[in-house]
Symmetry: C2
Subunit: 406 residues, 2 copies
């Protein structure tokens, strides 16, 4: 990527029609000092947006979820008189996009566990991975970082907190860092009590105070599981142990994260809440390229505030620290249970406050294994989803019974 | 200094009985992971405190202002049965301390222009200079930085703002920094209006909200000339032009300074308001050593606030930018006029709001010269002091006349 000014770097995007994917394309379009070429795109089933992206960027390969989506996409491109790229599908399609020979950098921005295998393949091939899919590292941090070490691949975080930590750590020595501090907006329930949180509707939980993101991550931000996942992600990215990673609630989301050095000095990275900054950083590192977005205006912020997270109202944080401490396949199981529970909440099958209950049930039942290979993790993921679905069904059944009695 | 863990580094302190000097000795005493040895001390006339320092650190050479002070010191050491070091006096004494052959690092912490020559000599000898005396760089930044370049000496800032900038800039490329942002507490008159400032007493002006410092710098903080001097200091330390250096008022003094990168990212250094952090950083760089001071607790701060400085109430800022832009001997003249005006204010000869008036008068009268050598600067300093004294006398005379008429 350092040769970006002399030749155009190839970029592949996993999850191109999502929030990070769209912003990545905007960054690539806006970069005037560094030429990047989109060589492959992978999306789910939003073929209309994908068709627009194909028309604008002319990738060689695109991947969609299913054969049906592929059919729709072909028809749409034909109708709009756009040259057909090679169209592939499913997990094999995602892997083909992630391992495209002309892709120097892969932006891994699918939601949830689906990005796991293609991201691993990209790392094994030594490609730079700009990682927005934190579940990938939560599930299989050991395999991912080992693959990167073996091939010499760079793993650069797009999550604003980890991107901030990457920036803070640039000039510092690992052994001179006392701890890293992830900031958290606190989500829409920061100032609500437990009773209010129990009755929270999906639309309330979707009201993120500072960041505009996808549904799954927004619910994770409401339960603060997002921060828990980020603790595990930070461990794998930067090599800090659970006792060296702290969380501070910072409602304004101006300080994206901080590090505290052994001499007491704190280095913080700040910026506006626009994912394009982190995406651009991950694409152009170690260079920084000029950016047309309005700069941070600290005088326009009414103040920057910091509080300790409330572990009682947000039990997901403790669950994530527990998963990190116990290690093995437990983080993968926790992640899978969380995905199922969040999905059940979005479908109004369970309450917001039942998400951590489901996760804890699954974690308690989980038979923890050392991570040997992908199969171990996929099996843990699968078993945890089954356990989560059972726990969700049991809760939903109980709820229905209670409703009937009333 | 990188060998600090294998041999004990020699330290000389200019201004050992002042605020920075005393804190420097406390840092040296507290460093358990790096051995430092005090080889020479220079103080003014506080021989009692100096005697304590000699008893504790056994320097080989000490310097005091005058023969009278030297006599007092000898008597005191004799009475306390402390072995006499070599005792020297005046500017020659300061230079002897600064150039002590066993001093690897010189902490330059005298107040005002007196530190100029000894600091230059230390730089010429290739010694690391930990610089707390910002007037030195304001007067003769060109000569100082050139001396450092020629000899390979390191110039490390002890001023908390510049120390913060040094930390922020560690992992970054100069050409990728869009601007540097010095924070200012805003001083005791941040929320006062112009009329209140005109009537400000010396004791009111001495009430610094966040830092506990010497008299001259505290008054400079009340007029914000301190920040103006720091703008010029930052220019020489880091090579940024006047349009790339900004000031933000930040009443809590938690963020010690910041840099904004071309991609919009802001890197900030934060810490508690204790000069020992910056002193230790300058002594141990590029290493960071563990520090026993309580760490920064952001949850204990009610909030971090930022405002644009009011150039109307604090005209010293614009005067400093003007001096930096026009260059030559004008910054030295401005600095000299400021020292005289501050001294006149402390002696209740002029009002606080007359300090910038005196400085502006002197700057307007100054015949600007390119900086060729020390003599040019010393001459500019001398002429500016004469002009300032005349302006102060004229003001005091006018004031007396007005008082008589009433």
């Amino acid at each position: 990527m350092t040769e970006s000014s002399t030749h155009s770097a190839g970029v592949a995007i996993l999850g191109s029609t999502g929030s990070i994917g769209c912003n990545s394309l905007r960054v690539i379009e806006s970069l005037t000092t560094s030429r990047m070429r989109v060589v492959a795109l992978a999306a789910g089933s939003n073929v209309e947006r994908l068709a627009d992206q194909i028309a604008a960027h002319l990738p060689e390969v695109v991947s969609v979820d299913t054969e049906a989506a592929a059919h729709d996409l072909r028809a749409m491109l034909f109708a709009r008189d756009i040259d057909l790229p090679r169209i592939v599908t499913g997990e094999a399609g995602l892997v083909e996009v992630a391992t495209h020979p002309d892709a120097d950098c892969v932006i891994s921005a699918t939601v949830g566990a689906v990005g796991f295998l293609p991201t691993l393949k990209a790392l094994e091939m030594g490609k730079r991975v700009a990682l927005a899919n934190k579940e990938t590292l939560v599930m299989a941090g050991e395999l991912m970082t080992q693959a990167a070490r073996n091939s010499g691949a760079e793993l650069l975080p797009v999550d604003s907190e980890h991107n901030a930590l990457h920036q803070c750590l640039r000039g510092e020595r690992r052994e001179e860092v006392r701890r890293i501090i992830l900031t958290a907006s606190g989500g829409p329930f920061r100032t609500r009590n437990k009773a209010e949180m129990e009755l929270a509707s999906v639309s309330e939980a979707m009201q993120h105070p500072t960041w505009n993101m996808g549904a799954k991550i927004t619910i994770d931000s409401a339960t603060l599981m997002n921060k828990g996942l980020e603790v595990i992600e930070a461990h794998w990215l930067f090599g800090f142990g659970p006792d060296e990673i702290d969380i501070l609630v910072h409602p304004e989301s101006v300080v994206h994260s901080m590090i505290e050095m052994v001499d007491g000095s704190v280095i913080a990275q700040m910026g506006v809440t626009d994912m394009r900054h982190a995406i651009q950083y991950a694409l152009t590192f170690p260079e920084r390229h000029s950016c047309q977005l309005p700069p941070l205006d600290l005088t326009a912020v009414s103040g920057l505030h910091f509080e300790t997270p409330d572990l009682d109202r947000f039990p997901c944080i403790a669950l994530a620290y527990r998963a990190l401490r116990e290690g093995g396949t437990l983080p993968a199981a926790m992640n899978a249970a969380n995905e199922e529970a969040v999905s059940a909440f979005i479908n109004e099958r369970i309450r917001l406050t039942e998400i951590p209950q489901i996760i804890e049930t699954v974690m308690d039942q989980h038979s923890n294994q050392p991570v040997k290979d992908i199969q171990t993790i996929l099996e843990a993921d699968h078993q945890a989803r089954l356990a989560a679905c059972a726990a969700i069904a049991a809760l939903a059944h109980k709820e229905a019974q209670t409703a009937q009695k009333i």
